[in-house]
């Protein structure tokens, strides 16, 4: 038997505190992971600017490279690198949760899926390094 809304006492609805994401370490890490996407985007944007300046000729590109050596830019790139690494590693570790890889009737263990991510990362980084050095 249910009381009508006119008869029943009011429910209490708590407001979520604005600093809820500081209430435990996992919420905090989630927020940092989300924030890291901003730095990934900014880092990618700086590359796009570099490509654009390259298309404008040698002088334009050299001015861009000189700008990259400005202390403020170096600080930004350092911070962006840390966030990019965090972004990469946290998402790598979420991959086996998202992807269930099956071979026939067997499910590939999560650790192997994770290892494959790192392997491809190292291989692609190696290829890029080779291309840049040569």
């Amino acid at each position: 038997m249910s009381a009508t809304s006119a008869q029943r006492p009011p429910r209490y609805r708590a407001q979520r505190p604005s600093l809820w994401w500081l209430s435990n370490g996992r919420y905090f890490l989630f927020m940092v992971r989300e924030l890291s996407a901003v730095f990934v985007a900014l880092y990618a944007l700086s590359y796009l600017v570099g490509l654009y300046r390259l298309s404008q000729g040698k002088d334009s590109y050299e001015a861009y490279v000189a700008m990259l050596h400005h202390p403020a830019v170096l600080v930004f790139l350092g911070v962006a690198l840390v966030f990019c690494l965090l972004h990469t590693v946290t998402w790598f570790h979420l991959t086996p949760i998202v992807m269930v890889v099956r071979m026939g009737r067997k499910v590939i263990p999560a650790k192997l899926v994770l290892a494959a991510n790192y392997l491809v990362w190292i291989l692609l980084s190696g290829v890029l390094w080779y291309l840049v050095v040569n």
Binding site: P9, P10, R11, Y12, R13, A14, R16, W20, W21, S23, N24, R26, Y27, F30, E34, L94, I97, V98, M99, V100, R105, K106, V107
Partner: protein, 245 residues
């Protein structure tokens, strides 16, 4: 005998408009769980304290509460692990009816919305026997069938906290349990619900639902895997529109 302070959030809507704390000092031993502490208060100190419980063994899912700020089954956490005292409140993100009792109507509606039952396009006659399933096929959804509807995952979910229209972790995990079942043929019907604006796309993969689950269900995985499946279905539908009747 040792004593412990249990601070309980009280809510008495007929007499006080806002919740308030009340601390009880009770004797306890190493075998007592938080629920035993609440039962001691109810039986010996203050009979007006309201809360839900039933099985005392982590099966019924009734005694979920915030214990020192974390969603827990109170039958599964020991008082000895909180020697400095323990704070017990109603589950976060739900309307409070009284003291530690929350209103679960919205949660129940969401469970029902995902059609958590076997859907067949055509039932085969009983004479043809049962629908067979291999152990490997069972393993694909088994963990998602372990949910006891305790709603701890909703209390842990910041997305549900921000938007109560979100279908939420337990309901989507339940949908995934049926979607992954080899005997199931109702995935399209369920996709309309979980693929809606209030469904899987609301989830930002915080993952706390899976951390707090007392039955080791992984709702976060269910949601992300459903995203992958629905995306694949959508792309295949674009590339091969004749595929579906």
């Amino acid at each position: 005998m040792k004593t412990i302070d249990i601070t309980v959030t009280r809510y008495d809507p007929e007499n006080k408009p806002a919740p308030y704390d009340q601390t009880y000092t009770i004797p306890y031993d190493d075998e007592m769980v938080v629920l035993d502490g609440l039962n001691y208060i109810k039986d010996h100190v203050d009979g007006s304290l309201s809360y839900r419980w039933s099985c005392r063994m982590g099966v019924c899912g009734s005694c979920g509460m915030m214990v020192n700020g974390e969603p827990k089954l109170t039958c599964a956490v020991f008082l000895k692990d909180y020697p400095q005292g323990v704070r017990v409140g109603p589950l976060d993100h739900f309307p409070v009816v009284r003291d530690l009792v929350i209103e679960m109507d919205d949660f129940m509606d969401k469970l029902r919305a995902v059609k958590p039952w076997m859907i067949r396009e055509q039932e085969k006659p009983v004479q043809e026997g049962e629908y067979l399933q291999s152990p490997e096929e069972l393993q694909l959804f088994r963990q998602f069938s372990m949910c006891i509807n305790c709603a701890l995952c909703y209390a842990a979910c910041p997305v549900y906290a921000a938007d109560k229209t979100f279908i939420g972790p337990a309901a989507i995990a339940l949908a995934h349990r049926y979607d992954m079942d080899s005997r199931e043929e109702g995935q399209d019907q369920r996709a309309e619900v979980i693929g809606s604006h209030e469904g899987i796309w609301e989830c930002s993969f915080v993952g706390e639902c899976s951390v707090v689950c007392p039955k080791h269900v992984d709702p976060a995985a269910a949601i992300q895997r459903s995203k992958v499946q629905l995306t694949k279905d959508h792309i295949l539908g674009l590339l091969w529109p004749w595929g579906k009747s």
